[in-house]
Amino acid sequence: MATKSKTAGKGTRKRAKDEGREIIRVSEHTAEIVSDSGEGAQKCGQIFGAVCAKMGNGAWTVEIIPAEIQPPPRSKAGGSGNRVRFGTERITNWGDATNLVVAFNEQVLLGRHELDALADDAIILLENMWATHPDPDIQQQWKEALEALSTRNYRIIEVPMEEECLKIVEDPRRGKNMFALGLFAFIYDRDLELIRAQIAHQFRKKSEEVYARNVLLMEAGYAWADANLDFRIEIPTVKSDQPMVVMNGNEAIGMGAVAAGMELCSMYPITPATSASHYLSDVFDKFGGVVHQAEDEIAAVGVAIGASYAGKVAFTITSGPGLSLKQEFLGLAVMVEVPLVVVDVQRGGPSTGLPTKVEQSDLLAAMFGQHGDAPHVVLAPATIEECFHSMVTARRIAETFRTVVMVLTDANLATGVQPFPRPELDPRWQQAPVSLSPIPEGKPAYDWDPRTGLSSRRVPGQKDGMHTATGLAHNEWSKVAYDPESHERGCRMRSRKIAVLQHTLRAPEVYGEESGDLLVVGWGSTKGAIEEAVDRARAQGLSVSSCHLTFLSPLQPGLKEIFRRFERVMTVEINYSDEPHDPFITDENRRRAQLCLLLRAHTLVDVDCWSRVPGQPLRPGFILNAIRERLAMGVGV
């Protein structure tokens, strides 16, 4: 067992007198488990993340997802697992690098190493059965991999996981994950009762026998670590006074949909949106709700529009390619003023792109993807908590304004797990959107208020409300009208609603000082990483603040005013932009990041951008580098 290097993590270490074991005290740590796909590493990571949260740590869990469903075993690209960043304080993002990793084979570990995912002084607990594997090729691979890993300062601890597990089960492939959980439990001194309860929760659909075996394996891992490791890592936990819940973003979307009184989720399977539908499919019927899996993305939104037209509360959920397919229907919903909530869990694009990976590149498609002028609302929750609450607000806005509200999340939020204050539920979120009262005589189908463009909703069943909703240009009676006045009026009324909504919005808050050298503007899931980078920059004496936008259409008021108070404004986004110094790129032809483009048009401020498309969440350290780099380029807008 090699124990050569220093350990990782922030903070100081102390040696506990009574144990003769090194106790590393840190304020936060990032731990991950990585295995071949199908070895259950994700289950282990999820349980560990949930237990950390339940013990009172701030936590942010992200999935490590292989791109293929069944990649070959022991391949660098096939690593699957979870990464848990947790600490004493609130954790808002996935952080920079992993401090401790449990790996089931050296190849997936090598994959993580090559991705630069591991801290230079990371502790590695590595399954060592491969060193003595009967296949000489594998032995050779092991040797080469360990050589490659030795270029860094890693502290590699070999663990005979297979051997230990075989003492308990016949097929260790189906239990090593629980052994690994035991390792984590010992190292981080986790509450074993909580772990057992969480195992029970995770395997609630399986038998008592499965539960008992998993607990045995976990305890074996714990005992092995106790007997063989000369260190433990201590992260003080602070139990929150507030009741908390912990879940991933897609579960939060699904639960938020229930809380918002949704009655129908009409969807077609697509990664990474589908897991929200999985969650809903599991629980929705007990609330009287239905998940309708339609024959395609187009039908999925069509059924939702039909249901909403009929006066019920429906939404659809999709990811990039599905959004493209739904665009014609979304334009129709805007045109006939049928309220509709659309969740887009963004992934890497264009085309099939990076199906399982994060990107923020659907913003412009969400806003402008419909042909013609189709003004509607676009929101972007920034945290898992906001995924939940945004559904309630989205429904209310959709119904009040009779329009489409798109909720943009992404693969990072969808699979990230974070504790947040338990929502206080309100029955008013659930109320029926309309009552089937008769329509007074002489009231047109679109009784547009000429000032606001708002009109009252009307649905089948309402006596004397008969009319034909049409996607053709129409007048207030919903009669097809091709004359210039009618079309202009319709466009104006639909557009006016967005201005009225904007009028009810407040200016966004500035994180940090109200003025300074640089303002970083972000949207969606990058909030935590950006704010952490800003904190670090300010700690280094840099004059940086940030501002996170949740309403993207309409944009919140006061942006120009805020931007003017900073020498420089830069968006940070996970979508493509040209770097200013790339070949052929000039200020004139530079393609900028999506929010940047919008803000420039909206404010006439020369907003800059820094964006990347790594298929991963942005690391605060990288954002910090970008901030320093931009500030070094000199100030001045």
């Binding site: 009287g288 029955p427 049409t470």
Partner: protein
């Protein structure tokens, strides 16, 4: 939901209205003179009157095309949506509001071309609604392009030297779909038969697919010419459980007894021959309906809040 949630709010109101044909009249139909759609509109209005369907509880959903203007000409609720996408919208309406009477009006481009996927699946869902395919064998609104049902070698503006492929047979296609529960064919120039077919479709519980042969005087005037002029081209499928109109015996002498329960017979009869067959090919009310399978009891807001609170407990830290 499809919970059984029909509202009680208007239950206590004594509704003594009776509806006349005129009560179902919307805007004045603007189809070409001689267009078969006029006759279909009249038959539908007659059905609405005969069944005394409340205008506010009746929804006509259409796609895009000449025939899809249909809802505008009725005084019911209507949804004139996207080309090819009438069926998903109608499915959403009926799934959530099973108490409404839902009709779908599609053209051959709508149903058999751009929306063909929805056609197959709507048939399989077997949601209780009447789906009318107004088949004039051509794209009319966009002025004469080949449709999937355009007869072989028939010229159009997109295939001026004639179509290259044999026409798709919508009846045969529908009969091939799992869970198809009602398939009929009729012709707009035989109003009595058209009406009886619509009536049978309306009374069928499930997805009632009716292909209506419809003349387009502008682009496909010759296609049904022979069938209109020579009644012997038409073969009436008759049965007590299907459609039998003795009054038509004088004109339409070609008859074949076909029991609508007989799916194999239906599929044989649906094959293309020199004869045009009208009547009910298949009917089966025993097949499951999607909206019934998905039906759930409703819960009050308080119940839902309580249940969601229990759900949050599972995720509590």
């Amino acid at each position: 939901m499809t919970h059984y949630g029909c509202s009680l709010l208007s239950c206590g109101v004594i509704d003594e209205r009776t509806f006349e044909m005129d009560d179902y009249q919307g805007a004045v139909a603007r189809w070409c003179p001689g267009c078969g759609d006029h006759s279909i509109l009249t038959a539908v209005q007659r059905l609405l009157e005969e069944e005394q369907l409340k205008p506010e509880e009746t929804v006509f959903v259409s796609g895009i095309g000449c025939s899809s203007r249909f809802p505008h000409y009725l005084n019911t609720y209507g949804f004139h949506g996207l080309h090819g996408r009438a069926l998903p919208v109608a499915t959403g309406v009926k799934l959530e509001r099973p108490e409404l009477n839902v009709f779908v009006v599609m053209g051959d481009g709508d149903c058999c071309s751009i929306g063909a996927g929805h056609w197959i699946h709507a048939t399989r869902y077997n949601v209780d609604m009447v789906a009318l395919l107004l088949d004039n064998n051509m794209y009319g609104l966009t002025k004469g392009q080949t449709s999937p049902t355009t007869p072989l070698h028939f010229p159009s503006n997109t295939q001026p030297r004639g179509t290259y492929l044999e026409a798709l047979n919508p009846v045969q296609a529908t009969l091939g779909v799992t869970n198809a529960s009602f398939v009929a064919q009729t012709a707009e120039w035989i109003p009595a038969h058209l009406y009886e077919t619509l009536k049978a479709a309306y009374h069928h519980k499930g997805f009632s697919f009716v292909r209506i042969l419809q003349r387009c005087p502008v682009y496909t005037a010759s296609v049904y010419d022979e069938a209109v002029r020579k009644p012997d081209v038409i073969e009436m499928m008759v049965h007590d459980d299907g459609i039998y109109l003795p009054d038509l015996d004088q004109i339409y002498k070609q008859k074949i007894v076909h029991n609508p329960k007989d799916i194999d017979g239906a599929r044989r009869l649906a094959e293309v021959t020199e004869r045009v067959r009208l009547g009910v090919f298949y009917r089966n009310e025993a097949l499951p309906r999607y909206e019934d399978l998905r039906r759930l009891p409703a819960h009050t807001a308080e119940e839902r809040v309580r249940l969601l609170s229990e759900e949050l407990d599972r995720y509590a830290v």
